[in-house]
């Protein structure tokens, strides 16, 4: 009985972590699908989004929720800027060069965050939240809001990808690049949009992560590994697979703490990622996702 309660409680944490990972993984997956490289600066893009949101709150005094749109605008602009300054110039070289420069970009973004905001720890709100109790299970209100926000963001993205022309053009480009170019899909505009969306989603993950815990300059970098694990599990290049991948990794990481030290959580994500890469490098889902 006690085990069941623990399991339920950890599942709630897992879903919350999973929804944060999902937002990051969708961005990583979309960028890989269209630009064909693993974007290592994605974690630090999350950090940028979280800090921009924080500063927006500090400057305006608006309620905590405003950190989300503000952070999204900030990170989307940063992503686009980085692409124009760095990635665009080397796009026609080998993917490995893009990958290494994104690694460098990660370090640069993190240093900029430290330079502007300093190394200290911030949090969005100092209020102490009273958890809700349902039987033996406790639910922190913030967790509900985090999940709700993630669901809304993913739903909006889904509508964009399936209902709008540019959304379809994005899917077409990640599906079959050659055909997309021959049919005159505006590649450059799709790439810009990919960075805007990837950046906004990263900021979503960053802000929600900041609400769940605190803001530190390494918050995004630390979560990058599980984000990649989620993207790979769902089949990299497939945004819909990333949703399931994020949830599975999030749940696995939290539930694993029943058996092992919580500090080994990221190792669980890593083990799953390596296992998937060995057994099913195309991701665990077949076909459409």
């Amino acid at each position: 009985m006690e085990l069941l309660v623990d399991l339920l409680q950890l599942s709630i944490y897992g879903i919350v972590l999973g929804s944060i990972l999902t937002l990051g993984a969708i961005g990583v997956s979309m960028i890989f699908g269209i630009l064909r490289f693993a974007h290592f600066a994605h974690g630090d893009l999350m950090t940028v989004g979280a800090y921009v949101g924080f500063s927006f709150l500090a400057l305006t005094g608006l309620p905590v929720w405003w950190a989300l749109p503000a952070g999204m605008v900030g990170a989307a602009a940063t992503a686009l800027l980085v692409d124009r300054i760095v990635y665009q110039r080397i796009r026609r070289t080998q993917p490995v060069i893009l990958l290494i420069s994104s690694f460098g970009m990660a370090l640069i973004l993190r240093s900029v965050v430290q330079l502007i905001w300093g190394p200290q720890v911030y949090s969005y709100s100092s209020d102490i939240q009273r958890p809700w109790r349902i039987g033996d299970i406790t639910i922190i209100p913030n967790h509900v809001w985090i999940l709700l926000a993630a669901v809304l963001i993913v739903a909006a993205l889904h509508l964009f990808l399936t209902r709008t022309r540019m959304g379809k053009a994005m899917r077409a480009m990640s599906d079959n690049m050659d055909l997309a170019l021959v049919t005159g899909i505006p590649a450059e505009r799709v790439i810009m949009l990919t960075w805007l969306l990837g950046g906004a989603l990263a900021a979503g993950a960053g802000v929600l992560l900041g609400m769940d815990s605190r803001l530190t300059p390494t918050m995004g970098w630390n979560i990058l590994l599980p984000v990649f694990a989620a993207a790979i599990l769902g089949g990299i290049g497939r945004p819909y697979g990333a949703i399931a991948g994020g949830m599975i990794i999030g749940l696995a990481m939290e539930i694993s703490t029943l058996f092992i030290e919580p500090s080994y959580k990221p190792a669980v994500a890593f083990v799953i990622m390596v296992a998937v890469l060995i057994v099913r490098p195309q991701g665990i889902f077949k076909g459409t996702l």
């Binding site: 022309r165 379809k168 899917r171 599906d175 055909l179 005159g184 505009r189």
Partner: protein, 265 residues
């Protein structure tokens, strides 16, 4: 419609296409045949702008299009399909056709947000066009199927459908019959004939199926080792000694449809 004028292309020391000239006449279905490695696909790639010729000129309705990029040609009305059909496999058949027409309001990010009305009207117009194309090709029943799940023949029809979504009137078909089962082969060739007869499309097609060639094409051009070795109606081509030699080292150019199973290749 399309004039190929003394076009040559070499890869390393190999002359893939050597001084080839012929015309793809408007409103006709021109055939291009030849043994494997004759340079047919390279010639298609040269015309469609995927590679640049070393020498020679290609014109489309009098306008020089030598070395133009594929998407420019696409919007000028010249399209090339591939031997292995290309499709957006994780999108539905309907979506595959919807993404084709470019330059619409929905593509401009600002308009997409502020001019919903216009974007919607345009989307509706495209959807109508898509349904019309699906009807014409008789693949309406798979409209909501993922394109990756279609059979080889249905993918070829989708290729044709994609060209129908554009203002394209000249289409280069690379082996429209390859990998298509017998039933659908009739549909594919029927669609080509109707597009040609009813809608005035100009086709040039590479094909190994001699029955399909003689059913559809006039005139037929024959390439071997990068050069054009014969041109004329299929009836004459069959009697041509050079062609026989190129194909079978002196043997006869035969039909082999009778001996073949349902699915080719």
């Amino acid at each position: 419609m399309i004039k190929i004028d003394q076009v040559s292309k070499a890869f390393g020391g190999i002359h893939a296409v050597e001084n080839v000239s012929f015309e793809i006449a408007a409103g006709r279905i021109t055939g291009l045949i030849g043994p494997n490695g004759a340079g047919k696909s390279t010639l298609f790639n040269l015309v469609a702008g995927l590679i640049r010729p070393d020498r020679g000129r290609i014109t489309l309705q009098g306008e020089d299009i030598t070395g133009r990029r594929p998407h420019e040609l696409f919007h000028r009305g010249l399209v090339r399909t591939f031997q292995i059909p290309h499709e957006f496999s994780r999108m539905t058949v309907r979506e595959n056709l919807m993404v084709v027409p470019a330059g619409q309001a929905g593509e401009n990010l600002i308009q997409a947000w502020f001019r919903w009305g216009r974007v919607r009207r345009e989307d509706r117009r495209i959807l109508e066009k898509v349904d019309e194309v699906l009807d014409f090709l008789e693949i309406g029943h798979v409209a909501d199927e993922l394109a990756g799940n279609l059979s080889g023949g249905q993918k070829k029809l989708l290729d044709l459908g994609r060209t129908m979504m554009t203002p394209a009137r000249a289409v280069l078909l690379d082996e429209p019959g390859a990998g298509v089962n017998r039933t659908l082969l009739g549909k594919v060739s029927g669609a080509i004939q109707r597009l040609n007869g009813e809608r005035g499309y100009t086709f040039c097609l590479i094909e190994h199926d001699m029955d399909l060639i003689s059913e559809l094409c006039d005139p037929v051009h024959v390439m071997a080792n990068g050069a054009l070795i014969a041109s004329g109606p299929m009836h004459d081509i069959r009697q041509n000694d050079h062609v026989r030699e190129a194909y079978l080292g002196g043997g006869r150019l035969v039909d082999h449809r009778g001996g073949r199973g349902g699915e080719r290749r």
